[in-house]
Symmetry: C2
Subunit: 209 residues, 2 copies
DNA sequence: ACTCTTCTGTGATAAATGTTACTGTAGATT
DNA sequence: AATCTACAGTAACATTTATCACAGAAGAGT
């Protein structure tokens, strides 16, 4: 156990790992579970040790605009920021692949900042990388058209899973980009004609990426 | 002097105020100065004591997509995040009203986190509020059409200055929303017809906001 | 008053995206 | 095999936004 946490969070000091194991609680959640809702108060910081969580912004019409994914070794920046002030969450977090997470009560998250250098650095780095990721998202929707955003989206997915196949339906993609399925289908078809992808049912193979 | 800093940053402890005055350097910049560029390394954290700074994302075509404004009592979250790791900035910062800022060298910014509780809280609160602001921006461009975004934009401006007049040309607004002047003119005209605003040269009066 | 420049208004048109409606197809279920 | 359902393709049309072209109005400078 000590080993596995240390493997997933290699920068944590041994001391910190012990404290986390003492005070945090390991919990499992199934795919589909909503871990956090807009407007909900946050009581824990979440460290992901297994699985995948999708962080998104929900539109009034039920759109699920993707911000980013959280994977093992990462933590939810929003939960850290909010816990520090016990504020309301402004986003949604949904489990997309069964996860195991370490829940850290908010007081500890705050306390450790002073006591554990490696924790402090981890938190700051989490803020930084997530902020950057969100800025990149802003860039995309502010300056790019749907075809470019779609390409970027696919690239992100293949980067995340480390493979060249994206196993999603057009509808799922459309939802995350807040557009309609027809538009996604059209654009994907064009990409196929340009030789960028190969389309199968529920799967898109990226070719020249 | 002690007084004025304390007035602008009321939550800082007296001890912290003294340290800032010893180690920080007060600098003035004229409107139009670019304080930070995309890709630039950051060497200082910036506290605003006077004036107004615009934080924006620059498009390839020269668009200046507005993220938010920084005003007295606030600090640049990006500079804090980046200094902690001495990373590159991902945004642009331009002075829009002559400013006086307190520059804090990056090592101190980091050091004070451990030594001064009020500094730590200020930094965390800065992260939180900026993150939220950016999320709101994402919301707007992801889910709303241009007319709604324009209304939101105007409201933000009047909130920021505390008055009901926005002194900007249609072109300036268009640039910040990454659209064209004609579109802004047209939408404003419609808003005027709906009785929401009154249009003057270089000025928009908000009526029923 | 005249000139210049900047700002604003507006029509015409083009392009991108969203919507509706319908068809076909692959795989699952019976 | 027959049926059902989710997924995918595509045409036609509506809407939104962008672009082009031009004209008039306000204010600054001479």
């Amino acid at each position: 156990m000590q080993n596995s946490l240390k493997t997933i969070f290699p920068n944590f000091s041994n001391e910190l790992i012990s404290v986390i194991e003492e005070s945090g609680s390991l919990q499992d959640f199934e795919a589909g579970t909503i871990l956090m809702r807009t407007g909900q108060y946050i009581k824990n910081t979440v460290l992901i040790t297994k699985g995948k969580i999708k962080i998104y912004r929900e539109g009034e019409d039920g759109g699920e605009f993707l911000m980013y994914y959280l994977q093992p070794g990462q933590a939810c920046a929003i939960s850290m920021i909010c816990t520090a002030k016990s504020e309301k969450s402004q986003i949604m977090a949904k489990v997309v692949e069964d996860v195991t997470v370490m829940m850290i009560p908010l007081q500890l998250m705050d306390k450790w900042m002073m006591e554990h250098r490696t924790w402090y650095e981890f938190v700051i780095e989490t803020y930084r990388s997530r902020f950057e990721e969100v800025l990149e998202v802003v860039d995309n929707i502010a300056f790019r058209s749907m075809d470019e955003r779609l390409e970027f989206y696919l690239k992100r997915h293949s980067d995340a899973c480390g493979c060249s196949e994206v196993n999603l339906s057009h509808q799922e993609i459309a939802t995350e980009l807040n557009t309609s399925r027809e538009v996604v289908s059209r654009l994907l078809k064009k990409m196929e004609q340009r030789g960028l992808v190969k389309l199968n049912r529920n799967q898109i193979e990226l070719l020249h990426f």
